[in-house]
Amino acid sequence: MDAAGPDPRDQTRPGAPPALELLHAAKSFGAVQALIDGSVTLLGGEVHALLGENGAGKSTLVKILAGVYQPDGGTLNVNGRQVALHGPAAARAAGIAVIYQEPTLFPDLTVAENMFIGRQPLRQGRRIDRRAMQRETAAIFERLGVPLDPARLARGLSIADQQVVEIGKALSLEAKVIVMDEPTAALSAAEVDRLFEVIRTLKAQGAAVLFISHRLEEVFAICQTVTVMRDGKQVLTSDLAGLTAKDLVRAMVGRELAERPPEAAGAAPGEPMLTLERVTREGVFTDISLTVRSGEIVALAGLVGSGRSEVARAVFGIDRYDAGAITVSGRPLKKASPTAAMAAGIGFVPEDRRQQGLVMDMSVQQNVALASLGNLERGGLIRAKAERAMAADWAARLKIKYGRLTDPVDMLSGGNQQKVVLAKWLGRRPNLLIVDEPTRGIDVGTKAEVHHLLTDLARNGVAVLMISSELPEVLGVADRILVMREGRITAEFSHAEATEETIMTAAMGQHEAAR
């Protein structure tokens, strides 16, 4: 599996300082501590895996290495010298290249210009030497063994090719440290193989590579060492040899498995409320079939980017889908029409409360009433009294803490804001409620209240489809759990069968984790 060439480790003299060493980095955003103790050490000629659940702090760590975020604490050494990265340009100058999951190219510029933007080769009079630029780009592509044309526009390149351009950029920078943030997320198997070949080349040339991926089989295929993060802290650093996929999953999940919220809905499910039959949205999710019965809470688990939210958006009519059928209470649901979805009795609490769930500048009262205006108007005018009564009623039922109903919803805490979103939909008395990350970023007490609310709804015959990345929540609240991986449903568990480990294993690729 190793590329032809000297053993990369020969190039790292014993006693040579690590190519990069990040020690005890911390970073918080407002009250949120995204990174508490981020440490990672990269050696030249080595591919190092960085693993962790969603929200473990990986992306924050990457952005610190990229110079995008300035850490609140900790030290960064490059080749044994301490450096402070004040911006992306400083990171580049320190020999660190970051390849993001979403490549950051300029569609209107040529591939060669993309590679050399800001540091194009110059000729007399500080003019750009276009020919030299194209020549150098072609040479790099030749080295990578990819037949890309330096003179073409970046517009229309596949994600794989865009990544090749980013890697070429790193090569042309002579970067000694290359950070790849989920580079394989959007690639086909063949493209992943080619990327690996490129990574092996980089490794053989003595570069230190930090490889982030949720696919454990890839980690075992390409990496030699691993760091696992959990809740903003580094929890494990080790050689990969001797570790199993199960060890890694356990390190990632980590917390005591007894942490289940106390109750499960447990009501006897009734008639199918929502049925999806082989619903496909090209390149996003494939062949999704599922049923949610009234009185039942079904959880969609899986990693961020596995297509869970996209399925929910398709059901609620925000996005189109290409094939398959969606029925609600036995009747086909019109495609791509939130109006039709609402008429069919669907409520949707989206993932991003501030952007999609609420109108932040409007009052508590107006936000609660927003989805029910049809019932509150007379002759086209909204009856303020009815609006106030409805809002007060739901605020009391959900125990929303607010100053005045006319205060902007912005003034409420995150948990109370989430309750306002819930109140908005409950006010329509939905038959089916879709909740996407219903307890993200809210405190423990409110979280429990939301869980109680969902189970109460189910007991009263509402069908609930819940998307959640918090495994204790999934395990505690859901009657059935569907796991999505890379746009497909890969496993289904009953409330009794599911454990954090079985879910994570299914979310990250089954047979690999079983070895």
């Binding site: 300029f106 510029l109 030749e142 037949p147 890309l148 044309d149 073409r152 090719d161």
Partner: protein
């Protein structure tokens, strides 16, 4: 670093080669498209009214174009970076009055000094715009809409009911638009040279390419370590300075300058830029195209005048051309994207 694996020889599909220069060809086609429309307009108008191609009328159109083409140069730099400068019309007005008023205040003042004064006035306005957009992170549409009114307001405060008229201006100044070499106005040649320099700069210098990158993908430009703020600031400063010079030229051309000089020019300039193929959301387009767009719009005005058609039609036709240009650009972008997708789909 040295390659360790043996490089595979890249195998280029023929279609790749054919599409390589597609991008450059498209922009050239885009510019020649304007030329075609221009030629058709001139031909039709000339058939009806032969005097349209008189030397005097050609000179008139070219002189009329100079102010617009200059403004289009500065506006193109701003628009390419995904911004817009709506204050240029007001800058033209302020600069036109203040600089030409110098002739009355300081008789015998050298003409180049007056041009420098105009440039300085414009530069100051441009710097103000640039600071608010780049450092204050306020959308340029809002900033320059505000300065459009503020600068016009200052202009009106200063000018009041006065005006500079031709009698107070030296003949050498008033002759600037009239001097010709071989039937072509000197001033048109000078502006053409300036535009050529601008086009060359945007193509060949890092700071010029940075503007395209910024307009093409602003977050990526930041991640690439480009000095986004400084570049955008410079674009606004240059646009302002150019508008200042254009104001002086406007004064020379019209001879009578009151507080309404240059009113509404900003939208005409943005129209010329868009008709000339500069993407309104930045990232692509050329100064040459924008200048051709300005020439086309001036020609249309003149043609309508010569044909005796009400000038009210002017604006309707400009608007129509604008829609046409945007529809065309949309189509081209879509075609181009799908063509480029086909050239390199890599599921081998």
């Amino acid at each position: 670093m040295r390659a360790v694996i043996a490089p595979r020889r890249p195998q280029r599909a023929d279609s790749d080669n054919r599409n390589i220069r597609l991008a450059e060809r498209v922009s050239r086609i885009r510019e020649s498209g304007i030329l075609v429309v221009l030629v058709v307009f001139v031909a039709v108008t000339t058939l009806v009214k032969h005097r349209f191609l008189d030397a005097s009328n050609i000179q008139f159109v070219l002189v009329d174009t100079t102010v617009f083409a200059l403004l289009a140069l500065g506006e193109t730099m701003v628009v390419i970076s995904r911004n817009v400068d709506l204050s240029v019309g007001s800058v033209v007005g302020l600069s036109a009055y203040l600089s030409t008023d110098l002739f009355a205040q300081h008789p015998g003042i050298p003409i180049p000094v007056v041009f420098l004064a105009g440039l300085g006035i414009g530069l100051a306005c441009g710097i103000a715009n640039g600071i608010m957009v780049a450092a204050g992170r306020v959308p340029s549409l809002v900033v320059t809409l505000a300065t459009l009114y503020i600068i016009r307001g200052i202009d009106i405060l200063i000018v009041g009911g006065n005006e500079v008229d031709a009698s107070s201006l030296p003949n050498a100044f008033l002759d600037i638009p009239k001097d010709t070499i071989g039937g072509i106005p000197d001033i048109a040649i000078a502006v053409a040279v300036v535009i050529a320099i601008g086009a060359y700069y945007l193509r060949t210098y890092r700071s010029g390419r940075d503007l395209y990158a910024i307009g093409s993908n602003p977050p990526a430009a930041r991640l690439a370590g480009l000095q986004v703020g400084r570049r955008v600031f410079t674009a606004f400063a240059v646009s302002g300075a150019i508008a200042g010079v254009a104001g002086v030229l406007w004064g020379a051309q019209y001879g009578t300058i009151n507080s309404t000089a240059g009113t509404g020019y900003e939208l005409q300039v943005v129209s010329a830029v868009v008709v000339g193929g500069v993407a309104i959301f930045g990232g692509s387009g050329s100064v040459t195209g924008a200048a051709l767009g300005a020439l086309l719009l001036s020609t249309i005005s003149s043609a309508l005048y010569v044909l005796g058609i009400s000038p009210f039609w002017d604006q309707a036709i400009w608007g129509f051309l604008l829609l046409l240009a945007i529809a065309l650009d949309q189509t081209i972008t879509e075609r181009l994207t799908s063509a480029l997708r086909r050239t390199r789909t890599r599921h081998e």
